[in-house]
């Protein structure tokens, strides 16, 4: 190892600031733990995501490509550049999130002393992004990985069994991005926010039901598909629903606290959706905005433990309407205040980065 001090590198497959913050938070936490001399995040240059974000304590290295992201050539070019970078830096700790950046790691002659697979995306997702090639890359990587961090252990259980990684050291770290609780404003009127991908897969069409016409609901998020556009078109015909467009994480954080509730649900059409570990669920709790949530197992566990939200009985429209009715009826009452108070308890006791990172620290005790 050249120079002095520990070097930590996080390999991202998307540009920072758009999507998950988990990787940068993990790299920061590891850098702090080991007193790292240098901590890097490697990110790709992506069209529509040009803004270069800075992070305290992290050096962001951006690699450009002539090709658009998610293209095969982009993937190859990006990995060629990462490979060169890793050879030059010789990191002590590498954190990567999926197979998109594995080729660069696999081709290293020098294996990093500590390699962490922060498996934020399931194999199903990775297959959709990169085809069978990404699955092959996962199959090749077992010898490389010292620790697997997963946001949802049930989903990971399926994936790791598929890969034959039954003896891998695995830690579940909830998909949090906040350090602590931010007290919300006092709410006296029921208001609801949905932030996320618009479409039938997130059951946004439920919001259009006439039974909910009396509730103020705001939508924010990208609409990629035809049916998403149809939903947005219908939204325009409703007086009670507003579409706020695509908001960045910072913008979302700023507006979320205006609402009494945040809606979190995906139709359980595949294993990713069923075993969802959604950022926005935890973000809502951290903002003191109780989530109304479909019974995704991890979300249900958290709500059962802390009473910090409302759970739908199942994924049906009827269950959603019942939950919305209940939510609406308790705003302004002590029951709602208790929900908000429980959000604070949840964040202070468990749903914060330092608490979650303790699990990683315990797992890392095996490594010097």
């Amino acid at each position: 190892m050249r120079g002095t001090g520990v070097k930590v590198v996080g390999l991202a497959d998307v540009a920072l600031g758009y999507g998950y913050q988990q990787l940068e938070l993990m790299v920061t936490a590891l850098a702090q733990k080991y007193g790292a001399a240098e901590a890097y995040i490697v990110e790709p240059d992506m069209k529509f995501r040009r803004q270069m974000h800075e992070r305290e304590g992290l050096r962001i290295v951006r690699f450009g490509s002539r090709m658009p992201p998610h293209d095969e050539t982009f993937h190859i070019e990006y990995n060629i550049q990462i490979e060169r970078f890793l050879k030059e830096v010789e990191p002590d700790i590498v954190v990567f999130v999926n197979a998109a950046v594995l080729p660069a790691l696999l081709l290293q002659k020098r294996r990093p002393p500590l390699c962490i697979y922060y498996m934020l995306e399931s194999l199903h997702h990775q297959r959709q992004a990169g085809g069978e090639n990404f699955i092959r890359l996962n199959e090749m990587a077992k010898h490389l990985v010292d620790l697997v961090i997963v946001p949802e252990r049930r989903r990971a259980d399926h994936d790791l069994t598929t890969l034959g990684w039954n003896d891998a050291r695995v830690v579940e770290v909830l998909n949090l991005t906040h350090q602590g609780f931010t007290p919300p404003a006092v709410k006296t009127e029921p208001s609801f926010m949905y932030a996320g991908t618009i479409g039938r897969q997130t059951q946004c069409h439920y919001l259009l039901d006439s039974a909910l016409s009396g509730y103020r609901i705001d939508l924010a998020g990208p609409a990629y598909s035809e049916d998403a556009n149809q939903i947005l078109k219908s939204v325009q015909e409703r007086n009670n629903i507003r579409y706020l467009g695509v908001l960045s994480s910072l913008e979302l954080d700023a507006v979320r606290q205006q609402y009494a509730y945040s809606i979190v649900m995906w139709a359980p059409t595949d294993i990713n959706q069923l075993y969802a570990s959604p950022n926005k669920f935890f973000e809502a709790i951290a903002s003191g905005v109780p989530p109304i949530c479909a019974p995704h197992p991890q979300c249900a566990e958290v709500i059962d433990e802390f009473g910090c939200g409302l759970l739908m009985e199942d994924w049906s429209l009827g269950a959603f309407i019942e939950a919305m009715k209940e939510a609406s009826s308790i705003v302004g009452t002590s029951r709602y205040e208790q929900l908000v108070a429980n959000c604070k308890i949840a964040v202070e006791e468990k749903l914060n980065i330092p608490e979650q990172f303790k699990k990683v620290e315990m797992a890392l005790e095996a490594f010097v």
Partner: protein, 1050 residues
């Protein structure tokens, strides 16, 4: 050489699952006919080494054309080939090759960055090569039809090799690129290729098996689940390979070819034509090969015979009665975390947690086993969470001990129960409840001597020991009156003690043992000591006997000591018993008796028998008694040792309690709760997703006084390459539902079950729920349904299926046997003149008679033929019988509406019950329903339930019964109406379960009756007999009667 019976099932790839169970029970039956039995399975089979028969792994693909080996995790690894491949791909050349796949995009994004001349040339060549390559990939015929290697480094090497070979071919070609197929056509070719590979693989495997075993004319090959691509492969193999034609083939088909009822089959001839042709191609092969074709239900046989190709007959669905009989009672325990111990402290104080902590600490110190202790006490107890070590975990529980069901739930989850209170002032009913809970859950216990629970358990010692020794030998008997007694005082004085014995009564004192020394007979394994109490003591007074046995070896040296404690009930005359195990090398024994609590009481008729018996017999019934110490640490030490001792003999103690439960089971007690079992995976087709809603509805609709309904569910989502998210979602919803249900209402058996566990559940439950998707099971068999019949359990099944057809076919005989002549109050044969029709929109079509055929009633879809009949005074039941008239159709379904009204004329409806019956044309249908109280007349209607043709029924007859006991509507099952929507199905299931719970005895008797009728049919022995029956032998084929078809494969 012995005749061989070879069972081939390519779908057997694991030791769990129904296929292997089926195969092994059939082979056991075949073995009884003198065959040498061989099982041929999938190449991915995980042999656990416990198989009864020779296993040959041969087949690659299962009946769905999938490769089970693909479902296993890939072999991981990073090889030299992998590195080379990565190096080539993630390089400039690789970049150019990738870019060549998307010329349009590449050109757009690289306009400002022109390539060098060399790179441009390379890029152009890459574009051409890539197109050629894509064309070659699609048009390349497989050089062989061998399946690719298993996933992992081997597969990657194979794929890389293929890619390189095609790439070299592409580069070598000059000229135009091969045309690319449209994507949809690519999929068709891919499917054809995959099925071709699967068929070829099957053929090769079969050839290897037959030639490898050198099967001959005396041998049989049985395929219990045949797929259509396998038929084609078999046909091809039989034509080409003479050796394959020697054995006799038995081919069983279990999946339907037509969907729905036979009246809809005409419209499905095009989709099934290829299946028909597959069998047609077998026809001429029957000239040279003995082939038998089967299905396992009559409706399926009708479907396959409809093809008019080869003849099919029906074989029974086998259920192994011996395995079922040998199954233990189900215990809901998980030993994933180790041995589970419940520490139950009834008086409820801070000490319970401290006691549990101390026991946990001791166990961690004394034993390497993993323990999981649950401390149970009153809700008011303050609990501490203490993790003593990684091996011992303390889990405080706040369940109250006042609720007997609560205790049962706790015991069901633990292997050992420790009752920690010395003074349990429970009333008799509560104590009996606890004994019952221990027996029903077969949980051995550690109980303080002197405790009322100990007294109750010790009362059972005698009868238990009597049973245990019934198969043993009595070597000698010594009576107290014949022995010279001595006394050993704890102060150290050892003296003669003639005063101890008078009139065959032995005096027991505190702090003194009245003892004898006896030589042991060779072969003695146990000392069985019996005595009687004679009414001494005041009721409620604590009294107990301490028995000490000190063994010496043949040389007189001390060997070992055993101390047993018995609690006796004061003021009563009871027979008591205790057993001391004799160590193998013991030559003599010093037996001492003293009182535990009371200073001076007599026991009468003391005797000591030397017994020789093969199986170990514990000292006391149901567990171990201990004497609490003066201090808690003494007590916890004693208890800890008792736990470890009990754990060492756990299996024996558990079996004892199970046997005790079996003895008591013969006494028919009214049930306060019935347990409903669901077995199978959580697929939508199996109706698992209905269960949470049904449970919720039952909870809301049944009163606390009614017979409670509990569930024992298998919760299982098989892992496969294609994850069924619906299953996982159903399981998650069930989990959510469980939180709102009372403790003990639902027990779960997670995961795949081995045969003993599966049968244990079947044996334990009172009924089985089979809420299958009706449309899938119109003709298909159901293993669990036949298993329920074999286990004499009623089932809850959907109407309009093969299952309900079986029930309907036996209903008339059952009712004829169950109804006594004197119970028939009156009867009607409803004349045709009184039938009218009622349209589905609720409007009567006409009040005139609608049928012109004498004594027949027209049954149509969409409207109801009805009549109105007064109910005779005193009638308690209505018994309806009728026949179908449509001879050619065997699966007609009739919906019968029983609507009781409050007056003789058309008036207010009091209750309505719909019953759907289905069956073959020669069935006499029979339904018995209770008359609604206050019912004065009945509106009785018929319509076609599920198919859309009109048919007639005849001989409609009504018997009015006056009987006090309930009677099953149909025998052995609740047949619920499936109207299609999930909500309606849940409603019907809820009603059906309530009906079963409220009339359980009647349905249990009817299930018993059904078992007597069908139990001998649904057996592997019967299946094998039918296969081998002489009349089943394929006839010598005369060319003039066969080969109507000239179909040939390409």
């Amino acid at each position: 050489m012995r005749q061989r019976f070879v069972l081939c099932d390519p779908s057997i790839h694991d030791v769990g699952g129904h296929y292997l169970v089926y195969a092994e029970q059939v082979l056991r039956a075949a073995e009884k006919h003198g065959f040498e039995c061989i099982l041929v399975v999938n190449s991915a089979f995980n042999d656990d080494g416990n198989r009864q028969f020779r296993i040959i792994k041969a087949f690659e693909y299962d009946i769905w054309g999938q490769r089970p080996s693909e479902q296993k995790p890939a072999e991981s690894g990073f090889t030299v080939d992998d590195r080379r491949w990565l190096r080539r791909r993630y390089s400039k050349s690789g970049l150019i090759f990738a870019a060549a796949n998307n010329l349009n995009s590449f050109q757009h994004y690289n306009t400002q960055f022109p390539l060098s001349a060399l790179d441009t040339l390379r890029f152009k060549r890459a574009v051409i090569a890539r197109r050629l390559l894509t064309g070659l990939e699609q048009s390349e015929a497989a050089e062989t039809f061998d399946p690719p290697p298993p996933k992992g480094p081997q597969r990657r090497r194979w794929e890389i090799g293929r890619q390189r070979r095609l790439f070299r071919q592409a580069l070598a070609q000059n000229g135009t690129a091969a045309q690319q197929l449209p994507e949809r056509d690519q999929q068709y070719f891919s499917n054809l290729t995959n099925m071709g590979i699967a068929a070829e693989s099957f053929k090769k495997a079969l050839i290897r098996v037959v030639e490898g075993l050198a099967l001959g004319e005396e041998d049989h090959i049985f395929f219990p689940t045949m797929a259509f691509f396998e038929i084609t492969a078999l046909s091809s193999a039989l034509r080409r390979h003479r050796a394959l034609r020697r054995p006799r083939y038995h081919l069983l088909f279990r999946r339907n070819v037509y969907d729905g009822y036979s009246t809809f089959h005409n419209g499905q001839e095009w989709p099934v034509h290829s299946h028909r042709t597959a069998f047609a191609m077998m026809d001429d092969i029957r000239r040279t090969t003995r082939l038998n074709f089967y299905t396992d239900t009559d409706p399926l046989t009708d479907q396959y015979n409809r093809f008019g190709t080869v003849p099919f007959k029906t074989l029974p669905v086998p259920v192994d009665p011996d395995a079922l009989a040998a199954a233990p009672v189900w215990q809901e325990r998980s030993t994933e975390q180790g041995i589970n111990v419940a520490v139950i402290h009834e008086t409820g104080s801070l000490n319970s947690a401290a006691f549990g902590n101390q026991v946990a600490t001791n166990l961690a110190r004394m034993s390497d086993l993993p323990w999981l202790l649950s401390v149970v006490g009153d809700r008011s107890v303050v609990q501490e969470r203490v993790q003593v070590s990684s091996k011992v975990l303390l889990k405080p529980s706040t369940q109250t001990m006042q609720d007997p069901k609560s205790l049962q739930t706790i015991l069901a989850r633990n292997e050992i129960a420790v009752f920690a209170d010395s003074y349990s002032a429970c009333d008799e009913r509560a104590v009996n409840g606890r004994v019952k809970a221990l027996e029903e859950t077969a949980t051995p216990s550690i109980v303080p001597a002197g405790n009322s629970l100990a007294a109750e358990l010790d009362l059972k010692n005698f009868s238990y020991h009597q049973r245990s020794f019934s198969s043993g030998r009595e070597l000698s008997i010594q009576h107290a009156r014949d022995i010279v007694w001595r006394a050993y005082e704890y102060s150290g004085v050892d003296r003669d003690a003639p005063e101890c014995l008078s009139d065959d009564r032995l005096l027991l004192r505190l702090h003194m043992d009245a003892y004898v020394s006896l030589l042991l007979s060779p072969g003695c394994t146990h000392l069985w000591i019996t005595f009687e109490t004679d009414g001494m003591g005041l009721p409620g007074e604590r009294m107990g006997v301490r028995v000490v046995a000190g063994f010496t070896d043949h040389g007189g040296a001390k060997h070992s000591e055993d101390v047993q404690l018995l609690t006796v009930k004061a003021g009563r005359r009871d027979k008591h018993s205790v057993v001391i195990s004799v160590p193998p090398k013991a030559g003599a024994v010093w037996l001492g008796f003293s009182s535990l609590f009371h200073n001076g009481f007599h026991i009468a008729k003391l005797s000591c028998r030397e017994m020789a018996v093969a199986r170990w017999v514990p000292a006391t019934y149901g567990g171990i008694r201990f004497l609490p110490g003066q201090r808690m640490d003494e007590t916890t030490e004693v208890v800890t040792r008792a736990v470890m001792r009990l754990q060492g003999e756990l299996e024996s103690f558990t079996q004892i309690l199970q046997d005790a439960g079996a003895v008591d089971a013969d006494q028919e007690q009214p049930k306060s709760a019935i347990k409903i079992g669901f077995l199978g995976d959580a697929r939508k087709e199996k109706g698992f997703h209905h269960l949470p809603a049904v449970m919720g509805r039952l909870l809301a609709s049944r009163s606390a006084e009614a017979t409670q309904i509990e569930f024992l569910l298998q919760v299982y989502a098989p892992k496969s390459a294609h994850i069924d998210v619906n299953m996982l979602t159903s399981i998650q919803l069930l989990d959510r539902r469980l939180r709102s249900l009372p403790a003990g209402m639902v027990s779960i058996a997670k995961g795949a079950l081995d045969v003993p566990s599966y049968n244990a559940i079947l044996k334990t439950v009172d009924a089985v729920i089979v809420p299958y998707l009706r449309t899938n099971y119109v003709a298909r068999s159901s293993g669990i349904f036949t298993e329920a019949i074999a286990a004499r359990k009623p089932s809850i099944i959907p109407a309009g299926t093969w299952m309900s057809q079986i029930i309907n076919e036996h209903a008339h005989e059952f009712h004829n046997a169950a109804v006594a002549e004197e119970e028939i109050l009156a009867w009607n044969v409803v004349p045709p003149a009184r039938w009218a029709e009622y349209a589905s929109n609720g409007q009567p079509l006409t009040n005139q008679e609608m049928t012109h055929i004498p004594r027949q009633v027209k049954v149509r879809r969409g409207c109801t033929s009805y009549t109105h009949i007064p109910v005779p005074a005193g009638a308690t039941h209505i018994w309806l019988t009728f026949n179908h008239m449509q001879v050619a159709i065997n699966d007609l379904t009739a919906r019968i509406v029983f609507a009781f009204q409050d007056k003789e004329g058309f008036s207010n409806e009091i209750s309505r019950t719909d019953v759907i019956v289905n069956g073959a044309a020669d069935t006499v249908f029979s339904v018995v329903l209770p008359v609604a109280s206050e019912g004065r007349s009945i509106w009785l209607g018929f319509c076609n339930a599920y198919s859309d043709i009109d048919f007639y029924i005849s001989k409609v007859k009504i018997h009015w019964l006056m009987r006090k006991d309930p009677i099953a509507i149909q025998p052995g099952a609740i047949v619920y109406v499936d109207d299609g929507s999930d909500g309606k199905i849940c409603e019907e299931l809820t009603k059906g379960l309530s009906l079963l719970a409220d009339n359980y005895t009647a349905y249990a008797h009817s299930a018993d009756w059904l078992h007597r009728k069908l139990g001998d049919y649904f057996t592997p022995g019967r299946l094998v007999e039918e296969m081998l029956a002489p009349e089943n032998a394929p006839a010598t084929i005369d060319g003039s009667t066969v080969s109507r078809f000239s179909a040939r494969e390409w």
